[in-house]
Each structure stands twice: as structure tokens, then as C-alpha cells.
Symmetry: C2
Subunit: 152 residues, 2 copies
């Protein structure tokens, strides 16, 4: 199978057809050969290249970084340290997001645990989000309850 249409390439890489054309438009993929009627025809190198792009995107690398990685592949005599640095930068970014998300999870969990029914006027979720609360007399109200209860 030395030559496949865009749909086959899409199926082979699980990248949508429109996305493949988009990658071509921004120069991540080379312009492929065309059939007599103008349809794109791809070879096996396109499958590899696109798989590379997809995997890098899955790992969260932004398009400019992928562009850089591809250019390094094309010029493979350079030092590995450049690639390593890009990967480290990406790892730092992932860890930063990870820390942030862990804090979010904790806060959301706390919010939900405290919310045991009742009216919205006293809802702890809204309270935790900054709602100025008025219901000091009701049992489901307030940040005191929120702070006092352990999370599950």
C-alpha cells in the first residue's frame, strides 16, 4: 500500500481528515502528490510523520515545538541536547498544570462534600465561589460547615 487517500491516512493515524489538511496548511505536513483528479495521495512516510505529530500533540507539545522537533529530525547531525531541552520544558509545563489541577480537585471535593441538599441561598458551592452569604441561621449554610466537615 504505497499510496493512500486522505481518508485512509486519517483512518491509519486516527487524525481527522480536516485536521490533516490543517496540518498541511500550517506546514507541519508536506504537500503530498495528487491524483489526476486532484486528490491527495500519501505514502508511508506521511503515516510516520503524522503519527509523530499526533503523539507529540497528545503529550501536549505545542505546534511550534513540534515544528522544531521535525526540523531537528530533518537535520539529524545536531546535538541531542536541544531535543532534550524541549522535552524538559514540556515536562515542567506538565508538572505545573498537574499541581494546579490537584489543588482544584481538593477544593472541588471539599465544596461538593459540604453541599448536602438545601436551598441555593445557603449552598456551600456558591459560597465557596465567593457568594456573599446571608443565612447564618440555617443548618446547611456557610463556610463554618465547609471548614468543619472532613472530606470523604
Amino acid at each position: 500500500m504505497s499510496s493512500m487517500t486522505i481518508g485512509k491516512l486519517s483512518a491509519a493515524t486516527r487524525v481527522k481528515v480536516t485536521t490533516i489538511r490543517y496540518y498541511e496548511s500550517i506546514g507541519l505536513l508536506d504537500e503530498p502528490d495528487r491524483s489526476a483528479s486532484g486528490q491527495r495521495l500519501y505514502g508511508d512516510t506521511a503515516v510516520e510523520r503524522l503519527g509523530f505529530i499526533r503523539h507529540a500533540r497528545d503529550l501536549g507539545f505545542p505546534v511550534p515545538a513540534i515544528r522544531e522537533l521535525i526540523s531537528l529530525q530533518v537535520e539529524p547531525s545536531w546535538d541531542c541536547a536541544v531535543v532534550d531541552q524541549i522535552a524538559r520544558r514540556q515536562l515542567g509545563e506538565v508538572r505545573r498544570r498537574l499541581t494546579q489541577l490537584e489543588a482544584l480537585e481538593a477544593e472541588l471535593k471539599r465544596m461538593i462534600t459540604a453541599c448536602e441538599g438545601g436551598k441555593i441561598a445557603c449552598c456551600s458551592v456558591l459560597a465557596a465561589l465567593g457568594h456573599h452569604e446571608q443565612c447564618l441561621h440555617e443548618e446547611h449554610a456557610g463556610k463554618e460547615v465547609l471548614a468543619a466537615r472532613p472530606s470523604n
Copy 2:
């Protein structure tokens, strides 16, 4: 300080001026009063509302969810379960992203550890990303470490 310009509101809430105007344009913030010359003048309720929005955004709530939460605040006699459900949905989303990021962190760490200098032709980072490798003395992990892809 019952009346402040958009710059003061921005400083008070750490939300950029342009973002405040954007929130107004999409109906998250009410249109404020204006001075004789047309400048926006905000009261303390705007600080509260904007703080609520910013906090919810920090927690990753999408704008439509925030819109919903605000409408619930305005009609506070409804049941708290609706708010609870929005928060739970958000928690699920956060946990999903968390799991994904943890897998990414592991893979990036592995990639970087394996990359101990040398030429790009043999770089394990590029290899892990799908580069067709010529360095047969090393066996790298396959592409399918991450089965969880958000869409498509």
C-alpha cells in the same frame, strides 16, 4: 469607595481591563453605569460578581457553567442539587485531566532520562515520539502508552 473605574475594578479583582469588557460583552457582567463622559463606573457588587467569576474560571468552570451558576444565584430558591451537579461534573473533568497529565508526566520523564546526550539520529525523545530509529541496540516504548485521547 462606592464607585470605581474599570482600572480600579481590574486592580481589585486581578482581572484584566479587556477581560472585564469581554465579560460584559458576553453578558457575564451587567452593563454598569457610566460617567458623564462615558466611562464605566462600578460598585461593590461588581467586585463580588467578578470575583465569583474569576474564582470559578480558576477552578476551570467553562463560561456557560458560570452563566448557569449566576442565574441560580439570582433565583436562589431552587434546589441546591443543581449547583451540586455542576460542581460534580467539573470535578469529573478535573480528575480526567489529572489522570491524563500523570501519564504524560511519566512518559516525558522516561523520555528525558533515556536521553543522555549523543546525536539526534539516536535520540530517544524523538524515538519515543515515533521517529523511525536506526539505533537498533535500544528498544523504546511504543506509541500506544496513551490510549486515552480526548476526542477522535
